[in-house]
Symmetry: C2
Subunit: 247 residues, 2 copies
DNA sequence: CGTAGAGTTGAGTAGCTTCAATGCCGGTGG
DNA sequence: CCACCGGCATTGAAGCTACTCAACTCTACG
């Protein structure tokens, strides 16, 4: 009785178990059996929601955990030397944050919530240890990192070969696809990041982002109102994003 | 007797064991004890040397193994859609090739030898299995991937915020550092890649690479003759590479 | 010694940046 | 409740970086 009460209280408070989490089919424990998932569940630490602008962790602080996004979104920002910040990633629900901190023992960038955001904290030493006895978990972890590597390569390609138009088209089609996979509308969504964030991420000046958004709008590709986005012609955007011959 | 003969023949032929490999302090088995290294050694497959221009594997072929570079160098090239190739990485001895193929089950790019090159093939299923019982090996694998993630982020920063001069300065300082760590001269080395490769990698036109090399030379930063490079003022190059405010 | 590919050099230009001014929206205090 | 303020976003004009195109030279290799 005490048990069920506690259980119920916890789950009402923060929907606290992986098994009942709507993201479990996308998240790290994806491949696990029920009893294995319990083990995994046991090492997770829930966190109080982050408010917009709050940091999950800061660049240089000691690496202890990776985090799975439960709701909301975040950005990762790296400050190097004297230079300005570089925004290296946006994170959506079910994605894993902090994997690039494993070697070097500290986080290589600051991760900040773009809106009210909840995350699951997964202490890395315990995750590593558990991955010893759960091959599926280990595999999933390898796959997550590998996927991030491939995404990074795609980003390099974007930054070195694509025009500003193609970059923005890629940005929208990629977001659209990510929303679709998570069960949201791929055509209509709200951007949680500012134009400055988008520009920084894509290697463009804010003004350029703004101008091209305007052009896309007049071409009937998207309808943008502030941070509200409606994708009107996804095929055309996709074509534009993949198009040959930049420069 | 038969045993020792076989052993001797193998080691003469291709210096076949991790324990006698001069790279072991940089390579994957770095953290392993002697007896563990034997286990690791047992799963490695040696390969005939690749000639210049030969592919280690091609984009889209099934992912089976990762490879450790033993000598020589390689480039990774990704062809996407109709667009041109994108060169995403150069690999030097002790570095691990193919980690971005783990998920998706096929290699996301073609890897080609830039000169005569030898590699050790490490079948991934056996590596994964071995990593179950060898935590140090597992940790090293996580760290390798994590490091690659961080390097990618640095590359993104380079591509989106740095001027052509800064990119080339970064390229030289990074190469210099990598040679130094491997026990070669950080000041004098031979480029195994063409100007076109460098340009593709750095997101610059060949002509731009050539022009800036000329300028660096006239500024007394480097002496370049064909593919032979002498770094004359490493501190200045480093300063230039890290310098504030691009664009 | 000749040729093909690699590398250099020059001229003109496109695309994006920078600087500057103005418009819009959402939150806060009177 | 409304007016004001500050940050975010848009728009315009001018400038510069790096690209393209084109011609030429060098170098490696048969």
């Amino acid at each position: 009785m005490a048990d069920t009460l506690t259980g119920r209280r916890r789950s009402v408070l923060q929907e606290t178990r992986c098994q009942t989490c709507s993201l479990s089919s996308l998240c790290l424990p994806l491949a696990l059996e029920v009893e294995d998932m319990d083990q995994f569940d046991a090492i997770i630490r829930r966190r109080a929601p982050l408010k917009k602008g709050e940091a999950l962790f800061r660049q240089g602080s000691p690496f202890t955990s990776v985090f799975a996004v439960r709701s909301g979104s975040l950005k990762q920002v790296t400050t190097e030397g004297s230079g300005e910040d570089q925004l290296t990633n946006f994170y959506l629900p079910s994605e894993l944050v902090g994997l690039d901190g494993i070697d070097e023992e500290h986080y290589p960038g600051t991760v900040v919530a773009l809106e009210t955001t909840t995350v699951c904290e997964i202490p890395f030493d315990r995750l590593d240890h558990l991955s010893e006895s759960l091959p599926e978990l280990r595999g999933q972890l390898y796959r997550s990192m590998s996927k991030e590597l491939r995404d990074d390569r795609r980003m390099m390609r974007l930054l070195s070969r694509k025009t500003a138009d193609q970059r923005l088209a890629s940005f929208f089609t990629s977001l659209s696809e990510r929303f679709r996979r998570r069960g949201y509308s791929p055509y209509s969504f709200r951007l949680s990041m500012s134009r400055a964030d988008i520009g920084n991420y894509l290697g463009l000046a804010v003004e350029t982002v703004s101008r091209i958004l305007g052009r896309f709008q007049s071409q009937g590709l998207v309808a943008v109102s502030g941070r509200e986005v409606n994708i009107l012609d996804l095929p055309a955007l996709t074509r534009l994003a993949e198009e040959e011959g930049a420069h």
